[in-house]
């Protein structure tokens, strides 16, 4: 399905922000809207920040607090001067006539704004997140309308963001949705068990192929070869040496830092005598 328009890359912080403002909406409001900030590239639009804008919506009219939007944008620009208004978001599944009006307002602020809908009411069973850009349609000269064409969405993370999101994912598993921050060795254990899970999946696939239950795929086979070759074959003696020297380094550093700590504790006691 070929889609006209740039690819929209969204950072998870934007989606979390939208969900949070939906949860905090005023009584009686069925949806929230807000501005999207980000950067525009030649073929893609990267959405990195957002803020919600108070608005009132009824059957026949809609009022958006534009002063507020302008103010917030100024404040945000102070912190990150590279972000520009690239569009707006709304929670809810459909696009209503009011959306067209709001979109018109935003086209005054940004060239070709995008419109993001986040279905936080979960109408279709899951949270569908879609992006649109407006296009003119109709007969030129006579009735002209506006059509929203969908765009492809990609989720993009910084490395550190990825690690943060991984940690947040683990909060899903506990019933109280909480998770403490673990410390040192247990983290290594967690990472190792994750790799172990992945290896089990791969092994199960291999077993299936061997017993004929699944068809062998060449590209997967090539990846498997890479995987096995990644463990370098080093002679036992060399490896022993490398391992021992590394372990010695680490032990020495541990010893020195323990010594330093004992030293400053002693110094403290002497001074306070």
């Amino acid at each position: 399905m070929s889609v006209y328009g740039p690819v929209v890359k969204i950072h998870p912080v934007v989606l979390a922000s939208i969900c949070d403002s939906y949860e905090r909406r005023n009584e009686g409001a069925s949806r929230v809207i807000g501005t999207l900030l980000g950067t525009i590239d030649k073929h893609s639009i990267e959405v990195t920040n957002c803020f919600s804008v108070p608005h009132n919506e009824s059957e026949d009219e809609v009022a958006v607090d534009m002063e507020f939007a302008k103010n917030m944008y100024e404040l945000h620009k102070r912190v990150s001067p590279t972000e520009v208004i690239i569009g707006w978001y709304a929670t809810g599944f459909d696009i209503t006539e009011h959306s067209v009006l709001i979109h018109e307002y935003y086209s005054r602020e940004a060239t070709n704004p995008i419109h993001l809908t986040v279905d936080s009411a979960l109408q279709s069973g899951k949270m569908s997140i879609r992006a649109y850009v407006s296009a003119q349609m109709g007969v030129p000269g006579k009735t002209v309308g506006v059509m929203f064409t969908p765009l492809t969405i990609k989720y993009i993370y910084y490395d550190t963001e990825r690690i943060g999101v991984d940690l947040l994912q683990r909060t899903r598993l506990t019933p109280s949705r909480t998770k403490g921050l673990t410390s040192d060795l247990s983290q290594v254990g967690c990472a190792a068990s994750r790799i172990q899970d992945m290896l089990t999946t791969v092994l199960a696939y291999i077993e299936d192929v061997l017993s004929g239950k699944a068809t062998a795929d060449n590209s997967v086979g090539r990846f498997l070869m890479d995987l096995v070759n990644k463990v370098p074959t080093i002679s036992a003696e060399d490896f022993e040496n490398m391992l021992n020297s590394n372990i010695n380094d680490l032990l020495m550093v541990t010893y020195l830092s323990n010594l330093t700590q004992a030293q400053i504790a002693l110094n403290e006691k002497l001074v306070l005598l």
């Binding site: 969900c19 949270m127 490896f239």
Partner: protein
């Protein structure tokens, strides 16, 4: 070290055990996932060049828990923004956030750090003013380099009540510190953190997991550690040098003090002898002169810097130990992998 409140370096010490020994009004911190993501993003986008990025935490206090529900970043201090009013920015931001029903109660601030070097005078002053104004405020320290290595490093600190008293009175002499018996371990207390997400965010996370590719970077299991270790040790050495200089200064001071005491003593004795002689000769005794005018006592050096440096050195050592224990584990795993070949 009975009052060690920082997380110990033993591999399996759970965080919850430190919570029970705190005697402050805040025993636990609950952070929303949104705040974590915002802090990470702020550093990533704005903090590459300069040292630290800072921002304000918003939330509320529920019983003995401090819930942090939102945050906003502070712009950097640049030279061409000389007339920039921080307070005004903050006020405007909070007013606007109130319109959209975001909690506008100031509960603390966050700062990024470089290899764990955050124990400084500036931090102490800021946290003191915050804690003075708002009883339960904390400072969240985010370490981006440690996070990039595989595990989110976010710690929450408060000043101990003893340290608060000292800062209030501004009495940084050795006697003052001795009175309050504050050591570098009693400066900051760490509050355990728990991350909590609402149901809607959980749904979002499920969706994200579906749509995103499996992360192919397992930084945490990376075996190459020498770069990070070198930098940490370099910083540690610098600090130890500073501490050394400070100790030398203090030593010279105490030596001067004792020399002066001796001189005073000698002077007094000579005076007394002279007076006795004069009395035996029938002359009026010499008046007792004011000793403090003759012998000006040397100024005791302020101990606050020493305390801070010691605290910083302690922090570095803790980080280094954590790092080495992780790496030892990884090395043993690599050995196991080779052993089966």
């Amino acid at each position: 070290m009975a009052t060690r409140k920082e997380s110990s370096s033993s591999p399996s010490a759970p965080m919850a055990s430190t919570g029970g020994t705190l005697d402050s009004p805040v025993k636990q911190i609950q952070i929303e996932g949104l705040v974590v993501l915002k802090i990470i993003k702020h550093y990533q986008e704005e903090g590459q060049g300069s040292e630290v990025v800072q921002g304000v935490l918003l939330g509320l206090v529920v019983e003995d828990r401090l819930e942090i529900t939102n945050c906003f970043p502070f712009p950097q201090h640049t030279e061409d923004d000389a007339d920039f009013d921080e307070v005004q920015y903050q006020m405007e931001m909070m007013r606007s956030l109130r319109h959209v029903n975001i909690d506008h109660l100031h509960v603390g601030w966050y700062q990024s750090t470089f290899y764990g070097s955050f124990v400084s005078r500036a931090l102490l002053d800021s946290q003191f003013s915050y804690q003075h104004a708002i009883e339960e405020s904390v400072v969240l320290i985010y370490d981006p380099i440690k996070t990039a290595q595989g595990s989110l490093s976010l710690k929450a600190y408060r000043l101990t009540p003893k340290l608060m008293e000292i800062c209030k009175e501004k009495d940084f002499t050795p006697e003052g510190l001795k009175k309050a018996s504050v050591g570098f371990e009693n400066m900051f207390e760490e509050v355990p953190i728990v991350i909590k997400n609402s149901h809607l965010i959980s749904v979002l996370l499920w969706d994200l997991e579906d749509k995103s590719t499996v992360s192919d970077k397992h930084e945490l299991l990376n075996l190459s550690s020498s770069n990070h270790l070198e930098k940490s040790l370099q910083l540690l050495m610098d600090r130890v040098d500073d501490l050394n200089q400070d100790i030398v200064k203090y030593n010279t001071y105490s030596r001067n003090l004792s020399k002066q005491q001796q001189q005073k003593h000698q002077y007094l004795q000579r005076r007394q002898q002279e007076n006795v002689q004069r009395q035996s000769r029938g002359e009026p005794p010499l008046p007792e002169e004011d000793l403090t005018k003759l012998f000006k006592p040397p100024l005791p050096p302020p101990r606050m810097d020493t305390l801070l440096i010691a605290g910083q050195v302690n922090n570095y050592c803790q980080n280094v130990k954590e790092f080495t224990s992780q790496n030892l584990g990884k090395l043993f795993m690599a050995e196991a992998l080779q052993g089966h070949n």
